[in-house]
Amino acid sequence: MAARTLYDKLWDAHVVRQNDDGTCLLYIDRHLVHEVTSPQAFEGLRLAGRKPWRVDANLATADHNVPTTDRSLGIVDPISRLQVETLDQNCRDYNIVEFGMRDDRQGIVHVIGPEQGATLPGMTVVCGDSHTSTHGAFGTLAFGIGTSEVEHVLATQCLIQKKSKNLRVRVDGAVGSGVTAKDIVLAIIGRIGTAGGTGYAIEFAGSAIEALSVEGRMTVCNMAIEAGARAGMIAADEKTTEYFRGRPYAPKGALWDQAARAWRELKSDNDAKFDHEVVLNAADIRPQVTWGTSPEMVVPVDAVVPDPEKETDPVKRVGMQSALKYMALQPGTPIRDIALDKIFIGSCTNSRIEDLRAAAAVVKGKHVAKNIKLALVVPGSGLVKRQAEQEGLDRVFKDAGFEWREPGCSMCLAMNADRLEPGERCASTSNRNFEGRQGAGGRTHLVSPAMAAAAAIAGHFVDIREINVERAHGDDR
C-alpha cells in the first residue's frame, strides 16, 4: 500500500462508503455535546421522529453558560438557565450520559473528553464546537461541526465529508526556557496566518512537538482552528498511551493491550506525501503576545506593536489599522509597556493541571499588581480543580490575590457573568482575541499561562524569560 499520512490512515479507517461525487460517508466514534449548539439539533431530531443511532457514543456537559461562582444558587440569567435545562432534558429524553452542573466531572467539553478517556487515540471525534481540534493531540481525527451536523451525527453516527488536504507543520529543535506549547502554536499562526490551514488537516510534528507533554499537545491542536484548519493532529506515542491508562472510559485488561498495540500505528509513514509543509525552528520561538483582533496578529514579547504603514498588502493594512484602533494601541509601543486591567487563566486552551502549575509557579509568594481589577483562575474541569486543590495551588493563587473559580468556559467567551467591560484590557490564556469576544468593547491579548501570571504580578506584560521561576512548565516536559 502507498505510504499514508496519519490523517489518511484515520480517514481510511472510518470510511463507511465512498460516494461517486468525491464525498465520503464517515463514521463517528465519539460525539461530545454541549448546551449551545445542540438544542436546535435535538429539536430537528424530534420533529423528524428520529432517534439517536448509538446513544453510548454521546457524552454531554454544560460548559459555556454555567456560572463559575457558587453553583448551589443555580443560573441567575433565565435565558442561560433555559439553555442548560434544555440540554438536561434532551439528555434525559434520549438517555445520553451528561455530567451536570453539580457533577465533579463537569467541565469544558474539550477538557473532560480526554480526562475521562471518552476521547481515545484513533477515534473520530466531533462536537458542535470549533475547538474540537483539541482532541487531535492523541492521533485522533477530531473536528468541529455545526448544528445541522450535530443532528446528522445523532441520527446516523455518520457525516458526509470531503477529505481535506494534508499539511505538515514541523517544529524542529528544542524551545528555550519559558517557551511553552502556547507560544509554539501562536508562532505557527503568526507564520501561516489565520487562513493558512484552510482546506487542510494539519499534522504537527518535529522534535519540539514530540517533546511536549500530552497536555501541551492539546494546547497546540486546540488552536489549529485558529490557523484555519478544522483538524489538527499529532502522532500517538508512548506518552499518549500512558496518558489514557486507567481513565474511566478507556478499555481495560485484554482490550487495553489490543488497543495499545493498535495505537502504535497512529503516525504518518516515513515516506508519506504532504500537499504542503511548513518548518519552524524551535530555538527562534520567543514568548508570544497578540496585539490585535485576530490570532495571527502576534509578536514576541520583546517586540513592539507593528506599524500598518509598513504593510504592503492594502487589505491587510486596513485590517491592522482597525485592529489598532479597537485595541487602542500605537505602532511602535513596546509590548512590555502595555498595562492590563484583567487577567484570565482558563479555557480549553490552557486550563489543565499543568497550565495551573505553570501559572502558580510564577505567582507563588507574590501579589497581583494594584492596577489589576480582577485576576481569574478557572480550572477546565471539576477534577482539575480538585487535583489543583490537593496540590495547594488554590492557596497559592488566592494568597496572590487571584479568584479561584468553578470550571467552565467563563471569560473565554463571556456567555456567563464573567466578562470584560468596554475598554478593559486583558491578558488571557484563551484562544480568540476577536472584537468583543471577552465582552463588548473588551481588549484581549493572548498569552501562555506563565506569561499571564507574570503580567498579573507586574500589571503589564513582562518577558517570562527574565523572571526567576522554580518550575514554570508543569511536570512532564
Binding site: R17, D21, G319, A414, M415
Partner: protein
Amino acid sequence: MQKFEKLTGLVAPLDRPNVDTDAIIPKQYLKSIKRTGFGPTLFDGWRYLDAGEPGMDHSKRRVNPDFILNQPRYQGTQILLARDNFGCGSSREHAPWALLDYGFRVILAPSYADIFYNNSFKNGLLPIVIERDALDRVFRETSATPGYKLTVDLAAQTVTTPDNTVFRFDIDAFRKHCLLNGLDEIGLTLARVDDIRAYETRRKQEAPWLFS
C-alpha cells in the same frame, strides 16, 4: 432546507477581511434554543451603538449610521460582498441562520473558513468563491452605483453584472445538487443504513474497544 435556484438582488459591500462568527452574531444571542430570530442582531456590535442583549426590542436601539447595512441604499439587500476568510472562528451555525434571517441568500468572497462554508450550504445560503479581480470590480461598482444588482444562477454557476459581464464560479457537485433541490442530508444518509451497519460489524471485529 430552503432551495436555491436563481436570484437577482441588491448587493451590500462589507470591506474587511477575517470577519469572524463572533462579529456575525455575538455570543449573547447564542443562548437561544431556536433557529430563527437572529436577523435583527446580525453584526450587532457594528450595527448598533448601544450594547445588545437578548430579549431587547432591537428596533428601539441606537443604530450606527456609518455601518454599511444601515445605509438607506442597501436596504433589502440579499447579496453580501466580503473579503478573505469570511466566517472564521466559532462553529456556530447561528451565523448562517442570522445572515438568512436578515435576508441574505448569497455571499461573494475570495475565501471562507471551512466550518462556516459547510454550515451555509446546510441552510440554503450560497457562499460563492469569487476570483479576486472580479471581486474588486464588483466592490467598486457596488459602491459607485446605488441600486446595483447582481444575478446569481446556481444551475449555470454564474454571477452576472448589470452590464452583462458573466463570472463563472465553481461548486462541489453534491452541494449544488442538495441546494438546487433543497435536500435533507440526513435522509440521504439514512438511505445507507445497510452500509452503516456493515461498517459497524466489521469495525467491532477490528477495534472492539471502540464499542465497549
